[in-house]
């Protein structure tokens, strides 16, 4: 698993850690029941405060991504991936509806929209 902390980011450090672990869980990089690094070890490797990593883990636990066993550590909670996927699809659907509304208002054709998506994707790829 990779976690990168960017001081340039506007997000607080705990949020950066939380989001990156969450993404790793969602894209399957971290599997269910996998043991996560300890709070102290993570803090040491990333050179951040223990309170910061603890907060990231606490929030992940609150959101149901991980669960902690006292004395053993934190584990990835089993995710209902089908349910997740459905939720994401719904989000995409509602966003596309919005996009289509704006496209109609600005008179943008479907081909132009697809072109825009491709350009954005390329740009994002470059950034990463």
């Amino acid at each position: 698993m990779n976690i990168q902390i960017k001081n340039s980011s506007n997000d607080p450090i705990y949020l950066q850690i939380k989001n990156q672990i969450r993404d790793a869980i969602l894209n399957g990089e971290l599997e269910a029941d996998e043991l996560l690094p300890s709070i102290r070890f993570l803090a040491k490797e990333l050179r951040v405060s223990v309170i910061t990593t603890k907060r990231a883990y606490d929030e992940l636990e609150k959101d149901g991504f991980i669960h902690s066993v006292h004395g053993k550590g934190s584990f990835v909670a089993p995710q209902n991936l089908d349910l997740m996927r459905e939720r994401f699809l719904k989000k995409i659907e509602s966003n596309i509806t919005e996009i289509l509304r704006y496209a109609k208002l600005a008179d943008v054709s479907h081909d132009e929209l697809i072109e825009m998506i491709k350009t954005l994707e390329d740009e994002n790829a470059e950034c990463n």
Binding site: N7, P12, I13, Y14, R40, F41, A43, K44, R47, V48, S49, V50, I51, T52, R55
Partner: protein
């Protein structure tokens, strides 16, 4: 959970300078940055903790026990590093090792010490008179970490060290704190890289403890920005922590909660907070 450090109404007068009364609680398992200007009372506090000075009033508990009741055996649980290594300069590294072996007896961890010495590649047969400042501090830290202490006190120990050695020190501290029973208090007028790993910041100014807060909350609380003088006039006075006016505008540190959310603020460092608070108070 037991606290590593508890100070209650701690007071000490030294000529015109008065420290305290200070109330401070440091939970176990964390790193505390104890910051303030030179002469703010950081070293005095640490000397009181280490029984080098005797308080006029108040109580000091380390690892849950009043320091007046500490036996030599219990003192082995406390490690300390000062701004220099206070050992006779004619001692070689071997002498220093022998001395500590005799001093700490059973608690002395020869293996840990040898590993640290090898890691820093400190010379075995040179007297410490010929050690550089960086080497003296590395040795001091190696000694402090080699008798199984639960509380580590650093008094300006990293000031004036070059960045590479500071980085080594940071690594060692982070390894030490992997044990949840271990606690570190670092006093310094300049935290720089150590700031990243500190859990709490305690800020002392003119002998008074202004606050002790978790670093994350502290840093998230404030923001810095550059404004024109007209823009500044629109900001709530209470929101201004400190400012640096110049000919072409003003740099200000603001409380995020008291300014409009669309005002773009830069993240602050602990040092920024220290500087702006002290300067803010002067006006």
């Amino acid at each position: 959970m037991q606290n590593a450090i508890e100070l209650q109404g701690l007071k000490k007068r030294l000529g015109n300078f008065v420290l305290g009364p200070i109330d401070l609680t440091v939970p176990r398992g964390c790193i505390v940055g104890y910051i303030g200007e030179n002469g703010a009372g950081k070293s005095t506090t640490i000397k009181l903790l280490l029984n080098l000075m005797i308080p006029d009033q108040g109580e000091i508990k380390l690892l849950g026990k009043d320091i007046r009741e500490f036996t030599p055996q219990m003192k082995k649980d406390i490690a300390y590093v000062f701004d220099d290594l206070y050992l006779p300069e004619d001692m070689t590294l071997k002498n220093v090792q022998n001395f500590h072996r005799k001093l700490y007896g059973q608690a002395w961890q020869d293996k840990t010490f040898s590993e640290l010495i090898a890691r820093f590649s400190l010379p075995n047969n040179k007297t410490i008179k010929h050690f550089s400042r960086g080497m003296r501090m590395q040795l001091g830290l190696a000694l402090a970490l080699s008798h199984g202490a639960k509380l580590l006190l650093l008094d300006e120990a990293t000031s004036g060290l070059d960045p590479v050695i500071r980085d080594d020190v940071l690594d060692l501290l982070l390894e030490y704190i992997q044990n949840e029973d271990h606690t570190i208090l670092v006093s310094s007028h300049i935290l720089s890289d150590l700031e990243k790993v500190a859990d709490y910041i305690a800020f002392i100014h003119k002998g008074q403890l202004l606050f002790m807060e978790t670093k994350d909350e502290l840093v998230d609380q404030y923001g810095i920005t550059s404004l024109s003088k007209e823009q500044l006039a629109e900001i709530d006075d209470k929101a201004i922590v400190g400012k640096r006016p110049h000919q072409f505008g003003v740099e200000v540190m603001l409380k995020r909660s008291l300014v409009p959310s669309d005002l773009e603020l830069e993240r602050v460092s602990v040092e920024d907070i220290m500087v702006y608070m002290i300067k803010g108070e002067r006006k």
